[in-house]
């Protein structure tokens, strides 16, 4: 049993941490979110140069890692720095799907992803589907030698700026069937695709994507049509782990900022941290954050486990991180007081990101239900 990081991963973590600390001040982040496309392409290139994108992908597609721990090491630092560049959309979900099921021709695109010149996203969720993995109504109908896609995709992370879209669609079956799903790689400039981009409350970007009779050939298919569900599940699982690790980094930053504040802010002639009512709440947070770190470690170790064990652990992690994330967001604002209600102060931006992570790839309730379902088969 050994919970220490390997030398390679320590270097990876330190590289990411140092760069973000030195070159990613929050005012730069605010400037990026206020401009198009809601993040900095230049910054994205720098992340690529540092190897942080490649670290999330396996050697088989030209990456330098791709294991659970590579994901958590990088994403923790992304969370600590409140990074808005599209790690989740491009590197974890988009590139993850292609690495998992793409054709050799499609995989060549990943070199550009790793180099930071190609942005991807996974357009999966739908307006009526909430967090369901398989509830897909977007239809892909055989037409001649190709496919015609019609449907609507909801709150697609960085869907407004992605160079290529990966769209899930149904080729057969009822709207909630696990069988009958397919993945298509689409150029967003194709006729029939309309994107409405918008800012998200945590400083990110997303889009509603309308597909109105979009026609593509077989070459656009990622994997066999009808059998995409396992690929989607595994990739979303990687996304869940990435979000949990990102949340952990954000939680620890909130914790450290709050401890500093309790030590320095005085009221009634004494530092806030001398008041027991506040001390105990701070300790509760630290304890729950240790729980979150523990379950992220556990989940990272199960990323390659058999399905039920893997999914059960990932859902356990997302449930716990969802609960603790809310607690940390609410409590660190409360422990700070009025200052944390201002846009100028960094903490509330972390709190917003933490809270919104629970709205991505399934919230605490969704994952509690999944945990129960997979527990009976694990």
């Amino acid at each position: 049993m050994d919970f220490s990081l390997s030398e390679e991963r320590r270097i990876l973590r330190d590289t990411a941490a140092r760069f973000i600390r030195d070159s990613y001040p929050i005012r730069l982040r605010h400037a990026s979110t206020a401009s198009e496309p809601g993040f900095s392409r230049a910054m994205w290139s720098q992340f690529a140069e540092l190897g942080l994108i490649g670290a999330l992908l396996p050697a088989s597609v030209g990456g330098y890692g791709g294991a659970g721990e590579d994901l958590t090491v990088v994403m923790e630092e992304i969370g600590r720095g409140l990074v808005v560049e599209p790690f989740l959309a491009t590197a974890v979900l988009g590139a993850g799907l292609i690495a998992e099921a793409g054709s050799d021709a499609q995989k060549t695109m990943l070199a550009e992803v790793i180099a930071g010149t190609q942005l991807l996203t996974f357009a999966h969720g739908e307006p009526e589907g909430r967090y369901s993995l398989a509830e897909i109504c977007t239809a892909a109908v055989r037409s001649g030698k190709g496919w015609t896609l019609t449907g609507r995709k909801a709150v697609v992370a960085n869907g407004d700026s992605a160079d290529m879209l990966i769209v899930s669609a149904r080729v057969s079956g009822a709207p909630t069937d696990e069988n009958g799903l397919a993945l298509f790689l689409l150029d967003p400039s194709l006729p029939g695709i309309a994107r409405r981009g918008y800012a998200s409350v945590d400083g990110g970007r997303a889009a509603e994507i309308e597909l109105d009779g979009v026609t593509v050939g077989d070459a656009a298919l990622i994997g066999p049509p009808g059998g995409a569900c396992p690929v989607i599940e595994r990739t979303i699982g990687r996304g869940v782990l990435a979000l949990c690790a990102e949340a952990l980094g954000a939680m620890e930053t909130c914790r450290d900022m709050t401890i500093d504040y309790l030590r320095t802010r005085t009221q009634f002639g004494a530092p806030l941290g001398t008041f027991q009512a506040l001390q105990h709440r701070m300790v509760d947070l630290c304890l729950e954050i240790e729980q979150a770190r523990s379950i992220v470690i556990l989940a990272a170790g199960k990323l390659e486990a058999p399905r039920a064990e893997r999914e059960r652990t990932l859902s356990a992690a997302k449930n716990l991180v969802g609960r603790v994330g809310r607690l940390v967001a609410e409590e660190t604002i409360q422990l700070h007081g009025g200052i944390a209600m201002t846009w100028e102060y960094a903490l509330p931006h972390y709190a917003k990101r933490l809270t919104m992570i629970d709205h991505q790839l399934g919230d605490a309730d969704h994952h509690l239900e999944r945990f129960i379902a997979f527990s009976s088969t694990a």
């Binding site: 049993m1 919970f3 721990e69 304890l287 379950i295 556990l298 990272a300 716990l320 509690l368 129960i372």
Partner: protein, 398 residues
């Protein structure tokens, strides 16, 4: 990072399992698993079996009769014992007094007392808390006044667990009242058979007798029974708080409780189907199970750090808090799981040899009493609020 046990650790686990299979009598594990009351003799039987194997004093150094285990081995051993239904090792002599004696006692004291703990000749109890000194332990009032080569001790100790079995008590006494409370405390060993020692039972809220009050009325204690230096007792008492506490989370107990809860929830019916399939109850159980999964990994992180030579600091306090809260939640769910059959109060059924049919399912009998009994977890060993004070002090450094 590698969360698996090494081959050597797995071999050790198998060795422990084989030992438990042979050395733990079925009647005894059945008694433990069904929540029957344990007699003094039951506990002594188990201690003796462990001592024969050299595994009784898991936290002692080899030269004093410990097995020389790593923190990971200790963790494995404790987990396997709980899973097999072994009685808990009575900690007062073995895990609480002995480490203090080994660290601060004289050679003569070690040579005399340590073998008697292993052999079971001495049964120790702890004389810390007093009616006026609970969480504020340093405010204790029991007075020891030097009189030639004796101390004369007067005062009252309380919450003395299994004190009615003990022939010896290690206690904290006041030897100097002119200094600040922590600086006037000494660590003294009292023979329970001395004139002036009276033990009276305290019946707890579940109707059980486990704890006692101990009255000390002009008890003469030889000066050679002082451990370490006079007025340094607080340091010795605190030593225990930072050492040998990797088992503090009670992960094995929580896992066993969770498994039991799941079996009960499968057996209980709601609307004609197992309670375990009721979405509300399933959600409550799952929430606790997820917390337990996280805590188990948290505990392993601390055990593994201890194995690498790190001394757990605030982590011990955090684990104590989380572990006790989770175990209390499990007893709460067990109580709810049996529904109306939580109500019957049949303490006679916990006695060995009781052979009447149970009222309701056999597992329902002890659950409400256990729920109430387990409220103690967040109170004893430094209440969870005291643990939070300790963590806050370290963390905020104010």
């Amino acid at each position: 990072m590698d969360m698996n046990f090494t081959a050597a650790e797995i071999a050790f686990r198998d060795e422990v399992r084989a030992f438990l299979k042979n050395a733990l009598p079925n009647w005894l594990s059945a008694k433990v698993k069904s929540g029957k009351r344990l007699k003094k003799q039951d506990r002594e039987t188990w201690h003796a079996a462990l001592n024969d194997r050299g595994w009784l004093a898991s936290a002692w150094p080899v030269e004093h009769g410990g097995p020389g285990w790593t923190p990971v081995q200790k963790h494995i051993f404790e987990g396997e014992c709980v899973a097999a239904g072994a009685p808990g090792i009575v900690p007062f002599g073995l895990a609480m007094f002995a480490p203090v004696l080994i660290k601060f006692g004289s050679d003569r004291q070690k040579a005399y007392y340590l073998p008697r703990i292993l052999s079971g000749e001495d049964w120790w109890c702890q004389g810390y808390s007093e009616p006026g000194a609970g969480s504020d332990l340093a405010s204790l009032k029991t007075r020891a006044i030097r009189d030639g080569d004796h101390y004369v001790v007067n005062g009252q100790k309380t919450w003395t667990t299994l004190g009615h079995y003990a022939n010896r008590m290690f206690c904290l006494v006041k030897t100097d009242t002119r200094v600040k409370p922590q600086d006037g405390i000494s660590f003294l060993l009292v023979d329970m058979e001395s004139p002036g020692v009276t033990v009276r039972p305290i019946v707890t809220l579940d109707g059980e007798h486990e704890v006692n009050e101990v009255f000390l009325d002009n008890v003469r204690v030889p000066v050679r029974n002082l451990v370490g230096e006079e007025n340094k007792g607080w340091t010795y008492a605190k030593y225990l708080l930072t050492h040998e506490r990797t088992g503090i989370a009670g992960v094995a107990f929580a896992k066993q409780g969770m498994a039991h809860l799941k079996r009960v929830a499968q057996d209980q019916k709601k609307d004609g189907r197992p309670l375990a399939h009721d979405p509300l109850f399933a959600a409550r159980m799952a929430q606790v199970e997820i917390d337990l999964m996280a805590m188990e990994t948290f505990n392993l992180r601390v055990v593994s750090a201890a194995a690498a030579g790190g001394a757990p600091g605030v982590e011990s306090s955090l684990l104590k808090i989380k572990g006790t809260v989770i175990r209390q939640e499990i007893t709460d769910l067990l109580r709810r799981a049996v529904g109306p059959y939580a109500l019957p109060f049949t303490p006679e059924a916990f006695e060995e040899g009781y052979n009447q049919a149970p009222i309701g399912p056999d597992y329902a009998g002890p659950v409400a009493s256990a729920y109430f009994n387990m409220r103690k977890l967040s109170i004893y060993g430094g209440s969870n609020e005291i643990q939070k004070n300790i963590v806050a002090k370290q963390m905020l450094r104010l």
